[in-house]
């Protein structure tokens, strides 16, 4: 076979594998969304038995047992808190890393540990701590603690990449022109890395919002959304779950989209002001 034919063949095969996998990855999510619009007597699989918003209405006017509104509120509040905490702590941590303080290597690995350590063990460990100390597990103590330990490393890595890339000459110029370090940071560094900070906050939000394993051990009686979805799934699988799944997936995508827009916007604005 001629090498060009062979190269083209490889390209086609790898392309087919890629497209095939993307389809494989997305089909369940898309099927879920389609089925969530099935009629009142639609089941959990095809055929759909007509098209309606019945299951979304169920979601809105649900009985106390399968009411997803309080868990959604809790998940949103926790995710928001995690996103802010992640952005602040990650920014401080990365700025500290730049000073190459004694032990900054260990510090780096300590933070990365949060990604490596499985949620199952971290959650279980914190539950044990609470048990030994006779502390009550709750959303705003144990769950918050564990969630931030999961989201912080991602924000940290995002910001580390951003700080490694931005043009240091701009900082140096500000300092040479007589700005003190704090002013230079506030007026030059901060606007430059703001897209990264938004990225870190986004990571904090979505990772916390979707977290399951860590929440399972640490939230106590007030369930978050993923927990109550799985609890409902254990009781009975109904298209209501498809509806909430579709809604929350859509919401996640919306959050990602908004953050991407925000990052682009900030980038455009700061480019003008720094120059």
């Amino acid at each position: 076979m001629h090498w060009q034919t062979r190269a083209r063949l490889t390209k086609w095969i790898l392309g087919a594998v890629t497209i095939g996998f993307l389809a494989y990855q997305w089909l369940p999510i898309l099927t879920l969304s389609v089925l969530s619009f099935s009629g009142p007597d639609g089941g959990t699989t095809f055929p759909m038995n007509s098209v309606s918003l019945h299951w979304y209405r169920e979601l809105l006017f649900a009985s106390a047992l399968s009411d997803f509104k309080p868990p959604i509120g809790r998940s949103l509040a926790l995710a928001l808190a995690c996103s802010v905490t992640t952005a602040v702590l990650a920014l401080a941590a990365v700025q500290a890393m730049r000073a190459r303080f004694r032990g900054y290597n260990i510090f780096f690995y300590l933070i990365l540990l949060g990604i490596m350590a499985p949620g199952l063990l971290v959650g279980f460990g914190v539950a044990i701590v609470a048990r030994i100390m006779d502390w009550q597990l709750s959303l705003w103590t144990s769950a918050y603690l564990v969630h931030v330990a999961w989201t912080l490393p991602f924000g940290f890595l995002t910001l580390l990449a951003v700080f490694n890339r931005f043009d240091r000459k701009l900082e140096e110029a500000a300092l040479t022109l007589g700005a003190n370090r704090w002013t230079a940071f506030r007026r030059v560094t901060f606007p430059l890395v703001l897209p990264g900070i938004i990225g870190a906050a986004l990571f904090g939000f979505t990772l916390s919002y979707d977290e399951f394993a860590r929440s399972l051990f640490t939230t106590g009686i007030n369930l978050t959304l993923p927990l109550s979805v799985l609890a409902q799934f254990d009781r009975q699988l109904t298209p209501t779950l498809y509806a909430i799944g579709t809604a929350t997936t859509f919401f996640s995508l919306l959050a990602v989209g908004c953050s991407a827009m925000l990052i682009l916007l900030v980038r455009r604005l700061t480019r003008g002001s720094v120059r």
């Binding site: 063990l121 300092l175 030059v188």
Partner: protein
């Protein structure tokens, strides 16, 4: 010169909150799991003396010990599938797609599910896998089988299918990054020296991207080892891996045994990571 002085004392103050947070949430709890796994006595207090009884009970039960092997086997299976699949996808995205806009679009389609809930993504497999599920409907429509096949739901096959869709991204991502950093001149130099494409790939490109492969494999390994949610959602109560055993003991209040299984899980993960780090130096990745 930068906005923070080298070895400035302020750096410690800035680093302290994050360091304390990670210590309190990750390091201390992990240590406590180890400690509690050795506890004797009946009450759950500090003063318990340390014994090996909990471990003895774990290792006397062949089902439990077998579960370690089964979990490792499942991890190996998913690592192999996602490794090959992930490399093909990464190679296509990073090398073969020449238009930047197409590459970005495909990459986003690949990555976006990572920002959605894994629980929802697991549940989304249910309408596919059931006896009346989409796969069986398709198989019967194509005339490949007369009666529904029951091997998908509540089975290892179904769990693996879902895990592959969840974790291939982890295997592909680092490879994409490494492939983008392979300078084109190296390829051209090898080709000028008359190396056929397959030799260029195996002798030049693949060794340079090996760190990415290993990082991806470690991520997949860690995730599969500790994955109990996918197993529980798709396997129902018919399938269990090591992670589910932790939860089982925890729910029945047997915290010491849950801790023992947790330690087993930690040990097997540690072995996996240490093996991987012997192959590749993770710190040189940023260079």
């Amino acid at each position: 010169m930068s906005t923070i002085r080298e070895r400035s004392p302020a750096a410690y103050l800035l680093a302290l909150p994050a360091a304390l947070w990670m210590t309190a949430a990750v390091v201390v709890p992990s240590m406590l799991i180890l400690w509690v796994s050795f506890w004797g006595g009946r009450r759950f207090t500090w003063e318990n003396h340390l014994v090996l009884d909990n471990y003895a009970r774990f290792f006397r039960n062949e089902t439990y010990v077998g579960l370690i092997g089964e979990t490792a086997l499942q991890a190996a299976k998913i690592m192999a599938i996602t490794g090959v699949l992930g490399y093909c996808i990464a190679y296509f995205l990073a090398v073969m797609v020449t238009r930047n806009s197409v590459r970005l679009t495909l990459f986003l389609i690949l990555v976006i599910p990572f920002w959605t809930s894994a629980v929802i993504r697991s549940i989304a497999w249910i309408p596919f896998l059931g006896v009346n599920g989409v796969i069986n409907q398709a198989l019967m429509f194509l005339g490949l089988t007369d009666a529904p096949v029951e091997i998908f739901l509540y089975s290892r096959t179904g769990i693996s299918m879902a895990q592959v869709s969840l974790y291939t991204l982890l295997a592909a991502g680092p490879v994409v990054y490494m492939l983008r950093n392979v300078p084109n001149q190296l390829r051209e130099a090898a080709m000028c020296l008359k190396a056929p494409p397959i030799v260029v790939f195996w002798r030049i490109v693949f060794p340079l991207t090996l760190p990415g492969v290993i990082i991806g494999q470690v991520l997949v390994f860690l995730n599969v080892m500790a994955d109990f949610a996918t197993v529980a959602a798709i396997g129902g109560n018919k399938q269990a891996l090591l992670g589910n055993l932790v939860l089982l003991f925890y729910d029945s209040g047997q915290l010491r045994y849950a801790a023992v299984v947790g330690v087993m899980l930690m040990l097997s993960m540690l072995v996996g990571v240490v093996v991987a780090l012997r192959v590749v130096d993770i710190r040189r990745l940023g260079e």
